[in-house]
Protein backbone atom coordinates (compact mmCIF):
# COMPACT_ATOMS: atom_id res chain seq x y z
CA UNK A 1 0.00 0.00 0.00
CA UNK A 2 1.47 3.38 -0.98
CA UNK A 3 0.82 6.80 0.55
CA UNK A 4 -0.64 9.84 -1.23
CA UNK A 5 2.86 11.41 -1.28
CA UNK A 6 4.25 8.29 -3.00
CA UNK A 7 1.36 8.30 -5.46
CA UNK A 8 1.78 11.96 -6.39
CA UNK A 9 5.52 11.54 -6.84
CA UNK A 10 4.92 8.74 -9.36
CA UNK A 11 2.08 10.31 -11.34
CA UNK A 12 4.05 11.87 -14.18
CA UNK A 13 6.21 8.79 -14.57
CA UNK A 14 2.99 6.77 -14.67
CA UNK A 15 1.59 9.06 -17.37
CA UNK A 16 4.88 8.64 -19.25
CA UNK A 17 4.25 4.88 -19.20
CA UNK A 18 7.61 4.45 -17.48
CA UNK A 19 6.65 2.87 -14.13
CA UNK A 20 7.63 -0.71 -13.40
CA UNK A 21 4.76 -3.22 -13.38
CA UNK A 22 4.78 -3.41 -9.58
CA UNK A 23 4.81 0.37 -9.08
CA UNK A 24 2.08 0.78 -11.70
CA UNK A 25 -0.12 -1.78 -9.97
CA UNK A 26 0.45 -0.13 -6.57
CA UNK A 27 -0.39 3.31 -7.96
CA UNK A 28 -3.52 2.10 -9.75
CA UNK A 29 -4.68 0.41 -6.56
CA UNK A 30 -4.21 3.71 -4.71
CA UNK A 31 -6.01 5.69 -7.43
CA UNK A 32 -8.86 3.20 -7.13
CA UNK A 33 -9.88 4.54 -3.73
CA UNK A 34 -8.23 7.99 -3.33
CA UNK A 35 -10.30 10.76 -4.92
CA UNK A 36 -7.70 13.45 -4.19
CA UNK A 37 -4.96 11.54 -6.00
CA UNK A 38 -7.35 10.81 -8.87
CA UNK A 39 -7.83 14.57 -9.15
CA UNK A 40 -4.05 15.01 -9.04
CA UNK A 41 -3.70 12.45 -11.84
CA UNK A 42 -6.29 14.16 -14.05
CA UNK A 43 -4.66 17.53 -13.45
CA UNK A 44 -1.18 16.14 -14.18
CA UNK A 45 -2.51 14.92 -17.53
CA UNK A 46 -4.02 18.35 -18.25
CA UNK A 47 -0.77 20.03 -17.25
CA UNK A 48 1.25 17.88 -19.64
CA UNK A 49 -1.05 18.79 -22.53
CA UNK A 50 -0.97 22.44 -21.45
CA UNK A 51 2.84 22.44 -21.48
CA UNK A 52 2.98 20.93 -24.97
CA UNK A 53 0.34 23.27 -26.42
CA UNK A 54 1.60 26.45 -24.80
CA UNK A 55 5.32 26.00 -25.30
CA UNK A 56 5.15 25.33 -29.03
CA UNK A 57 7.22 27.82 -31.01
CA UNK A 58 6.82 28.85 -34.63
CA UNK A 59 9.78 29.65 -36.87
CA UNK A 60 9.17 33.26 -38.01
CA UNK A 61 9.44 33.76 -41.77
CA UNK A 62 12.22 36.34 -41.55
CA UNK A 63 14.29 34.05 -39.30
CA UNK A 64 13.66 31.12 -41.65
CA UNK A 65 14.83 33.21 -44.61
CA UNK A 66 18.04 34.23 -42.83
CA UNK A 67 18.82 30.67 -41.72
CA UNK A 68 18.24 29.32 -45.24
CA UNK A 69 20.53 32.04 -46.61
CA UNK A 70 23.19 30.88 -44.12
CA UNK A 71 22.74 27.29 -45.27
CA UNK A 72 23.13 28.37 -48.89
CA UNK A 73 26.33 30.25 -48.01
CA UNK A 74 27.74 27.24 -46.19
CA UNK A 75 26.93 24.96 -49.12
CA UNK A 76 28.57 27.38 -51.54
CA UNK A 77 31.73 27.75 -49.47
Amino acid sequence: MITCADAVERLWVYLDGALTANDKAALEEHLGFCRVCCGEAEFAQELRGFLVRSAREELPEDVRARLIASLDELEAS
Binding site: S54, E57, R64, L67
Partner: protein, 177 residues
Protein backbone atom coordinates in the same frame (compact mmCIF):
# COMPACT_ATOMS: atom_id res chain seq x y z
CA UNK B 1 19.01 20.22 -43.17
CA UNK B 2 16.50 22.89 -44.13
CA UNK B 3 13.62 20.64 -43.09
CA UNK B 4 15.05 20.49 -39.57
CA UNK B 5 15.14 24.28 -39.09
CA UNK B 6 11.72 24.70 -37.41
CA UNK B 7 12.48 21.95 -34.89
CA UNK B 8 16.00 23.23 -34.18
CA UNK B 9 14.74 26.78 -33.76
CA UNK B 10 11.97 25.61 -31.44
CA UNK B 11 14.46 23.87 -29.19
CA UNK B 12 16.89 26.80 -29.24
CA UNK B 13 14.14 29.32 -28.57
CA UNK B 14 13.20 27.61 -25.35
CA UNK B 15 16.77 27.07 -24.27
CA UNK B 16 18.24 30.51 -24.95
CA UNK B 17 15.23 32.72 -25.75
CA UNK B 18 16.07 35.65 -27.99
CA UNK B 19 19.48 34.19 -28.84
CA UNK B 20 17.84 31.26 -30.64
CA UNK B 21 18.58 32.46 -34.17
CA UNK B 22 22.27 33.01 -33.39
CA UNK B 23 22.43 29.63 -31.65
CA UNK B 24 20.98 27.86 -34.70
CA UNK B 25 23.41 29.74 -36.96
CA UNK B 26 26.31 28.53 -34.78
CA UNK B 27 24.93 24.99 -34.79
CA UNK B 28 24.60 24.95 -38.60
CA UNK B 29 28.21 26.04 -38.94
CA UNK B 30 29.38 23.34 -36.53
CA UNK B 31 27.26 20.76 -38.33
CA UNK B 32 28.81 21.62 -41.70
CA UNK B 33 32.30 21.45 -40.26
CA UNK B 34 31.64 18.07 -38.67
CA UNK B 35 29.48 16.59 -41.40
CA UNK B 36 31.96 13.86 -42.37
CA UNK B 37 31.76 12.50 -38.83
CA UNK B 38 28.07 11.68 -39.33
CA UNK B 39 28.05 7.97 -40.19
CA UNK B 40 24.37 7.42 -41.01
CA UNK B 41 22.01 9.90 -42.63
CA UNK B 42 19.17 8.55 -40.48
CA UNK B 43 21.01 9.77 -37.38
CA UNK B 44 21.08 13.31 -38.77
CA UNK B 45 18.13 14.81 -36.84
CA UNK B 46 19.38 13.52 -33.48
CA UNK B 47 22.93 14.62 -34.33
CA UNK B 48 21.73 18.13 -35.23
CA UNK B 49 19.67 18.28 -32.06
CA UNK B 50 22.71 17.36 -29.98
CA UNK B 51 24.71 20.16 -31.64
CA UNK B 52 21.98 22.74 -31.00
CA UNK B 53 21.57 21.64 -27.38
CA UNK B 54 25.32 21.89 -26.80
CA UNK B 55 25.57 25.30 -28.44
CA UNK B 56 22.66 26.53 -26.30
CA UNK B 57 24.17 25.11 -23.13
CA UNK B 58 27.47 26.86 -23.90
CA UNK B 59 25.60 30.10 -24.40
CA UNK B 60 23.70 29.52 -21.16
CA UNK B 61 26.96 29.02 -19.29
CA UNK B 62 28.46 32.11 -20.89
CA UNK B 63 25.52 34.20 -19.76
CA UNK B 64 25.65 32.67 -16.27
CA UNK B 65 21.93 33.20 -16.08
CA UNK B 66 20.93 30.17 -14.02
CA UNK B 67 18.82 31.21 -11.02
CA UNK B 68 19.76 30.07 -7.54
CA UNK B 69 19.44 26.39 -6.72
CA UNK B 70 16.16 25.40 -5.10
CA UNK B 71 16.03 22.90 -2.28
CA UNK B 72 14.39 19.61 -3.27
CA UNK B 73 12.70 19.59 0.14
CA UNK B 74 10.99 22.86 -0.66
CA UNK B 75 9.92 22.02 -4.17
CA UNK B 76 9.36 18.30 -3.65
CA UNK B 77 6.31 18.84 -1.47
CA UNK B 78 4.65 21.37 -3.74
CA UNK B 79 1.44 20.32 -5.47
CA UNK B 80 -0.16 22.85 -7.81
CA UNK B 81 -3.35 20.80 -7.79
CA UNK B 82 -3.67 21.06 -4.01
CA UNK B 83 -2.50 24.68 -3.94
CA UNK B 84 -5.26 25.71 -6.34
CA UNK B 85 -7.82 23.70 -4.37
CA UNK B 86 -6.69 25.21 -1.06
CA UNK B 87 -6.45 28.81 -2.25
CA UNK B 88 -9.59 28.56 -4.42
CA UNK B 89 -8.93 31.55 -6.68
CA UNK B 90 -12.18 30.96 -8.61
CA UNK B 91 -14.81 30.34 -5.91
CA UNK B 92 -17.70 30.15 -8.36
CA UNK B 93 -15.96 27.88 -10.82
CA UNK B 94 -16.86 24.24 -11.30
CA UNK B 95 -13.61 23.66 -13.23
CA UNK B 96 -11.21 25.42 -10.90
CA UNK B 97 -7.99 23.83 -12.09
CA UNK B 98 -8.68 24.25 -15.79
CA UNK B 99 -9.70 27.86 -15.21
CA UNK B 100 -6.34 28.43 -13.56
CA UNK B 101 -4.47 27.11 -16.61
CA UNK B 102 -6.69 29.18 -18.92
CA UNK B 103 -5.22 32.37 -17.43
CA UNK B 104 -1.87 31.66 -19.10
CA UNK B 105 -1.01 32.72 -22.62
CA UNK B 106 1.90 31.25 -24.59
CA UNK B 107 4.15 34.17 -23.56
CA UNK B 108 3.35 33.54 -19.91
CA UNK B 109 4.27 29.87 -20.19
CA UNK B 110 7.52 30.79 -21.94
CA UNK B 111 8.29 33.25 -19.14
CA UNK B 112 7.59 30.59 -16.51
CA UNK B 113 9.85 28.09 -18.25
CA UNK B 114 12.62 30.68 -18.43
CA UNK B 115 12.52 30.98 -14.65
CA UNK B 116 13.67 27.38 -14.31
CA UNK B 117 17.40 26.69 -14.03
CA UNK B 118 18.81 25.24 -17.26
CA UNK B 119 19.49 21.85 -15.70
CA UNK B 120 15.77 21.37 -15.10
CA UNK B 121 14.30 23.30 -18.02
CA UNK B 122 16.33 21.56 -20.72
CA UNK B 123 15.24 17.97 -19.94
CA UNK B 124 11.67 19.13 -19.28
CA UNK B 125 11.39 20.83 -22.66
CA UNK B 126 13.11 18.05 -24.58
CA UNK B 127 10.87 15.36 -23.08
CA UNK B 128 7.47 17.03 -22.72
CA UNK B 129 7.50 19.54 -25.54
CA UNK B 130 9.73 17.95 -28.17
CA UNK B 131 8.84 14.35 -27.40
CA UNK B 132 12.31 12.90 -26.82
CA UNK B 133 12.55 9.70 -24.79
CA UNK B 134 14.39 10.08 -21.49
CA UNK B 135 17.15 7.77 -22.75
CA UNK B 136 17.66 10.00 -25.80
CA UNK B 137 17.85 13.08 -23.57
CA UNK B 138 20.46 11.37 -21.39
CA UNK B 139 22.54 10.64 -24.48
CA UNK B 140 22.08 14.15 -25.94
CA UNK B 141 23.11 15.81 -22.72
CA UNK B 142 25.83 13.32 -21.83
CA UNK B 143 24.12 12.78 -18.47
CA UNK B 144 23.31 9.48 -16.69
CA UNK B 145 19.68 8.39 -17.13
CA UNK B 146 19.08 8.46 -13.37
CA UNK B 147 20.20 12.09 -13.26
CA UNK B 148 17.86 13.01 -16.11
CA UNK B 149 14.94 11.32 -14.34
CA UNK B 150 15.73 13.21 -11.13
CA UNK B 151 16.04 16.49 -13.06
CA UNK B 152 12.68 15.83 -14.72
CA UNK B 153 11.02 15.20 -11.38
CA UNK B 154 12.36 18.39 -9.90
CA UNK B 155 11.73 20.32 -13.12
CA UNK B 156 8.04 19.31 -13.13
CA UNK B 157 7.66 20.41 -9.52
CA UNK B 158 9.48 23.69 -10.17
CA UNK B 159 7.29 24.32 -13.22
CA UNK B 160 4.15 23.80 -11.11
CA UNK B 161 5.41 26.07 -8.34
CA UNK B 162 6.52 28.80 -10.74
CA UNK B 163 3.14 28.72 -12.52
CA UNK B 164 1.54 29.52 -9.18
CA UNK B 165 4.10 32.19 -8.24
CA UNK B 166 3.93 33.81 -11.70
CA UNK B 167 0.13 33.94 -11.60
CA UNK B 168 0.30 35.76 -8.29
CA UNK B 169 3.06 38.16 -9.33
CA UNK B 170 1.45 39.05 -12.66
CA UNK B 171 -2.04 39.44 -11.24
CA UNK B 172 -3.48 36.67 -13.39
CA UNK B 173 -5.83 35.66 -10.60
CA UNK B 174 -7.00 39.16 -9.71
CA UNK B 175 -10.68 39.65 -10.26
CA UNK B 176 -11.03 35.95 -10.89
CA UNK B 177 -13.74 35.63 -8.32
Amino acid sequence: MEAQLPRLYTIARRLVGDEAEDAVQDALLKAYRGFERLERASAGPAWLTAIVVNVCRDRGRARARAPAEVSIDVVGEFSLYRKIADEDPFPYSDSLHLDFLDQFGADDVRAVLERLPDRYRVPLVLVYVDGFATKEVARLLGTPLGTVLAQLHRGRKLFERELWNYAGEKGLLEGAS
